[in-house]
Subunit: 255 residues, 2 copies
DNA sequence: CGAAAATTTGACGACTCTCAAGTCGAGTGG
DNA sequence: CCACTCGACTTGAGAGTCGTCAAATTTTCG
């Protein structure tokens, strides 16, 4: 945590980028360069749509504070396909895709740093290592998507919810925002339902189930986790896919 | 189709890469450079595992002929998280991630072209445009993952199956392997079940349902689609997310 | 306080899983 | 050629998970 304070003092907008992942492989020059790629810091209100599906944009946004989700819609039904925490370069995709296939919405108020695409382009042209890290960060999103596809295919709603909160807790920890006993989040039960592909009603019953089992207490924007290890076991959560610190996660497992 | 013959004559291994997507934006020099990045062409048997989760590798593979799937496993249960057709740079991810979070397996026999990572690295260092296209191709995978997450969250098994085959048909069309009435595939009903997160038994009932509705006839490695438009409608399939030709798909829709 | 949003509960029906069998087709050895 | 085997496919019955409709309760906030 002490390390984070120093890092955030030096790089207030981008100091959490890839923290706990490959940030350690970034030189101070690269960290500085990334920080300097930011052209503006903007505040958003709860529910604001940062980017809408199909729109073009000429800058990408890094999430500095708050939470965001990617959403897709079909037949009027909203699906949340991913969740984002501070340090995530939420729509870096937009740089290479030009138009996004999805929306990015704020869950609660949020602060973002905008990075113009021409600065990314310049980085692509003359800093292959940093470019590769940017690429890496988008592939991380893909790895998260894959894990979530597997969990949707294998788990029931209570376990899906347990998995979601296991992952969020873990990711918050990696960027220096973790607490052992849980975390605060502006997510509603409806939001969580949209992440699970369940109705809000069924999600509510699942929450009640988790509460009864004393695995997870979710109330009024506060998530309390009595025993992290038990929650992880119940959710079949194995954080390798987050590519956490050091030996690139998977190394220790299959070597 | 005539255009594909010429393209494949010139670029036998990589001629389908991004076909129907951004291939038109590649210069002849870039196409040649990509083709020259291939160091070897290898044949695989049905069921071969090209890359296993957690392993490192120093080359990536482009699928030249045949089909492959990405798989994840948990508690002994296999999940298929994506499907690949010729022209897909199946494990380009591996370049930036170093270690993959998933396996890549052959469905039926397959031919692949291997691309050493040092050649990709060289491209990253001196060809920003081609680098960006490589990046784009991995983001396409992520977009496919997102769409699939939404479909898992919204559709029942028969519709999920209809969506899978709608997508495969569409993607085969983009790389010059489409036929109006269906396609051949070594997929089994069990494989499809693993893509849907359903049991083989339930998938079988879903296939029977689709057959009864005359939407899709799947038998012994052959998929027959009587009416593509009806199948798409039933599956709620909208191919924008495949980023097809020209105006980048989404342009025509939301402009 | 009153309205809107979020959460909770109950009943019933639809979707999907599990267990248990049974059928079909391709390849093998006699 | 036939009996055999194996994998893929098919069918049935009962139970668990989840969606829908309907309504009540609690919280948030102007």
């Amino acid at each position: 945590m002490i390390a984070f304070e120093e890092e955030l003092r030096r790089y207030p907008n981008t100091g959490r980028f890839l923290a706990g992942r490959l940030r350690h492989s970034m030189s101070q020059d690269e960290r500085l360069r990334l920080e300097d790629m930011v052209s503006a810091v903007v505040h958003h209100e709860a529910g604001d749509r940062i980017i809408a599906r199909g729109n073009t944009c000429d800058n990408s946004t890094m999430l500095v504070e708050g939470f965001m989700v990617r959403t897709l819609e079909s037949n009027g039904k909203r699906s949340i396909v991913s969740f984002h925490v501070p340090g995530d370069f939420v729509d870096l995709h937009c740089f290479a895709l030009k138009r996004l296939d999805h929306n990015i919405d704020c869950i609660g108020p949020a602060t973002v740093a905008q990075v113009p695409h021409d600065r990314i382009k310049a980085t692509m042209a003359d800093d292959p290592h940093l470019s590769r890290l940017l690429w890496f960060s988008t592939l991380l999103d893909a790895a998260l998507h894959r894990e979530w596809i597997m969990k949707l295919e294998q788990l029931t709603t209570p376990r899906r919810i347990a998995h979601i909160f296991s992952e969020i807790g873990c990711r918050l920890g990696m960027v220096g925002l973790g607490r052992p006993d849980g975390f605060d989040t502006p997510l509603t039960q409806s939001d969580v339902a949209d992440m699970c592909g369940a109705t809000a009603i069924h999600a509510n019953r699942a929450f009640a189930d988790l509460r009864r089992r004393d695995l997870l207490i979710f109330e009024r924007g506060r998530v309390h986790i009595p025993d992290c290890a038990e929650l992880h076991a119940y959710a079949d959560f194995h954080p390798d896919y987050l590519y956490g610190e050091g030996d690139l996660a998977l190394e220790t497992e299959d070597a």
